[in-house]
Symmetry: C2
Subunit: 319 residues, 2 copies
């Protein structure tokens, strides 16, 4: 597997490196839903990860892999989401200064998640270009080291530890479902799972309203999203230059789900799995529902990638 | 420990007996909240148990412990809550007919949870007396075997397996917090935990608005609730004749929490633990918050007993 930017050894090393800094998240069984779906559905609960998302794995591995003077001038990332808080957390825990560039329209919850680690975000205009430009300007001034949210081999290796754990926890898994945004999680899981068990099937799950990965695979070249109107805000990103070749070679396919299906799965997570998933984390359950026929009789592990749901409109019911 | 209705051997036997029928639920770490509270708080997530509550443990152990002709005429229980669904589930899985007596005002979700196992509840007036009377009339006619929600040694032994698992999963636990309604869960955990580690402290957690266990301990005799206006609907019950002597001998104390604290903890569970707890399951987190000073520096495991929250008033927020 040396032809990819990341191999199994790197993922196993990442796992040893980050093991005491992360939660080895549980796999949750769903017996009643499994009966309805006619396959054995399990959830790999990265929403229960420290900080509420798998992103801590990649960020921690990247921070702990810094060698020589890298990181001595601090680290930097641009992110409106979970990578921002994960990097702030991992850097702070290792006494490294972190700079986080966030678009002005980032939700209060995600801003607070970064500030909880003592990092004040630098705000920029809400476009990919403005984010990259603001980040580059700071790098030019401070020589901070960029840790990209997905297009970084150490980050991908960290996310791949989710795949290692799934294969340890569910020895008879036939299929894995993972969300695809920039592709770090999917690429890492693909390398780990397919190297350890070439027969296992791994599917990316993506909103129809942000189907750039689906179109990238169809056309054989990275496509940008053409629209951004999805509740799955973590999956609006285009697939990366490093993650795409891995996904292109190894993935069994991309499963598209509609907005209504994502919302319904987010709700179902609460009612049937008693867990909180953000919509980006519930796309795999949405795909499990929609494509149930093709998993008939299998053991399927759906990765719930994060649980940082905006609950500002939610009033809890009382009996 | 032979002076109690249940001993450690019975709990260990129960664990072997039910092991393949239940989930060995995870213990979830809460590193950010732990920092705020100044102690290491972990959650034993029985809300992620099959069926969404610890009740499956006791019901399954009771069903699998039936000997001779017991159960040949079916089993029966009166419950408006999780014991009803758990018994319906455990009985049906073992081809035993279950009769469930429920008050007419039981929530639709809890009725549906019973019906999901093919059992149609028998409805009665919403008072303890009406429930017991309706149940006794059916027993007289059908000779069904009563499986009480908490005042039954096999049920208590089943619930005690929660304590066994906690001591395996958190070897350095200093304190355990468990909700107290009828007392089956607390009594089972007390026998398991205190027999294996006499130094461990175990606290019952109860709403101030249903403080019958607190008053029972103070007066040395079982007291009935004087009011029922608590959101923690699973904890409105008086402590049982079998569970009370165990609790009286072994518990380190009862921690009372107010309604606002329970509601806040139920919400905090969603936002900070990314899990769904029903209010009865969140009383332990409420107690961890309120009594944080007395746990300073400890490792504390709070049992989240169930996750069958009524979400009918909850509209999920979108970004």
């Amino acid at each position: 597997m040396n032809r990819y930017a990341v191999n199994l050894d790197q993922i196993q090393e990442a796992h040893s490196r980050i093991s005491r800094k992360i939660s080895h998240t549980p796999v949750v069984e769903l017996d009643q839903l499994s009966k309805k779906l006619n396959f054995d559905l399990r959830l790999k609960a990265e929403n229960l990860q420290r900080g509420g998302s798998f992103k801590l794995r990649g960020a921690t591995n990247a921070i702990l892999s810094l060698t020589g003077s890298l990181g001595s001038q601090g680290v930097i990332a641009h992110s409106s989401g979970n990578h921002a808080a994960a990097l702030a957390s991992a850097a702070t825990a290792n006494d490294i200064k972190a700079t986080i560039v966030m678009p002005r329209d980032t939700s209060e919850r995600k801003i607070n998640a970064v500030m909880a680690y003592g990092v004040s975000p630098v705000f920029c205009e809400p476009s990919s270009r403005a984010r990259e430009q603001a980040t580059q300007e700071i790098i030019d001034q401070t020589h901070a080291h960029l840790i990209h949210a997905y297009d970084d081999p150490d980050v991908i290796a960290g996310q791949g530890t989710v795949g290692l754990e799934i294969l340890e926890q569910v020895k008879d898994a036939d299929s894995i479902l993972a969300p695809i945004g920039g592709g770090g999680l999917l690429a890492g899981i693909l390398v780990a799972a397919k190297t350890l068990n070439p027969k296992i099937r791994v599917w990316g799950c993506e909103p129809t309203n942000a189907d750039d990965a689906f179109r990238s695979l169809e056309t054989g070249a990275i496509q940008n999203p053409t629209r951004y109107d999805t509740v799955a805000d973590g999956l609006r990103t285009a697939v990366g230059k490093i993650t795409f070749p891995i996904i292109q070679s190894l993935v069994d396919g991309i499963l598209l789900v509609d907005e209504e299906e994502i919302i319904q799965a987010t709700r179902q997570m609460v009612l049937e799995a008693r867990m909180v998933a953000e919509p980006s984390g519930a796309v795999t359950l949405a795909a499990a529902n929609r494509y149930a026929n093709q998993f008939h009789g299998q053991t399927v592990v759906a990765v719930v990638s994060g649980g940082n749901l905006d609950m500002s409109h939610c009033k809890l019911g009382h009996s």
